[in-house]
Amino acid sequence: MAHPVLARVVRRETHSPRTAAAVAVIVLVVAAAIGSGLEIVRYLLGAAPLLARPAAVLTWLAALPAAEPRAAVAAAAVAVAVVGAVLLWLAAAPGRRSVHVLGSAAHAVVVDDAAIAAAVAERVGREIDLPQGAVVVGIGHRTADVTVRPDLDQVVDEEHVREVAAGELAGYGPARMRVRVRVLRRGSSR
């Protein structure tokens, strides 16, 4: 990558911005804030509450652990804690997208994993002369899983499949991917 700004561009392209989750949270927080504000204003004006008076909400929260049914309260509390844990995970996890960066000279090239999988499947299928749909490829961050399901009369050498797949992946630049090959017999489950 010739230009220093491309490093930033690639990092932003390969990691999730978490915008969807953040927007969802912000919308809910705004709704809660507006709701609380309305209740407070209605209370100050002496109007009837829409849902509950502010003081009633606080006392309800205070009495919540002893509320019946106990199991429902505990379950709801666990649900809240789990949602919190998920949000923390979203905040802290790298959020890597399923894409790979190709080693290219002057510019940055990012390829989505499904495109890589399709290219590897195409190459393996063509070189070994397998019918369409007989090769299934899954691409992970560091692994490529190649599953081949040849016709009954066809003999497929696992090592050959591995070489062809690795040959295709070798053109992709520095990212080393481990190739795993499985040859399935027709009619067998694995």
């Binding site: 491309l6 561009v9 927080v29 507006i34 407070i40 390829v111 495109a115 299928g125």
Partner: protein, 204 residues
Amino acid sequence: MNETNRGVNRAVLLLTGLALLVGGTGLVLAATRQDTAVLWDGSWSTVISWLRQTEEATRLGRTTVSGLAIAVLAALLVVVMVAVVVLARLGGGRSTVVVREDAIDGVRGAVVIRQGFASDAITRSLSSRTEILMSRVSASTVRGTTVLHVSVTPRRGTSPPEVATTAVGLVDNLAALTGREVPALISIRSGARARLGSDRPRVG
């Protein structure tokens, strides 16, 4: 690719996640354990009595309005305003200008190459190729530098390095034409159309 402040996104998730996790865990413990239940009751009654006292102390005359209520409303307003600012600042960073050459000595006028020109030049060349189903070009400003973003959807099964070479070649041609090197991000995607447009030319 945009200039969304991702740190803010993460901070929003971190703060709400922390609040929900602490609140949920506290409630679970209070509902199941006696000592936490005592602690829960104690803290809440302290908070509620403090609120009552403060409300009485800051009451304005004989009205129901108190300084406390106004302060809480102001805090809620601040929360809403911050949220609106965060939402309004999502995205951005799009640029309509790819190259700008200001008028200097010996040059009669400024030269500006717009994103539409670069976009047309690149997508036209790519659409003439059978292995490319769709392409889109946009420009964005990243830390003050214009970056070209070429998004290409090739026919399913096309080798990505070949597509990359084609696209890089076109970007370099544009640079040669305009005399200005623009850093580019080329993203190769497998869209729904790539799946539909799959074909496997075979011999024999």
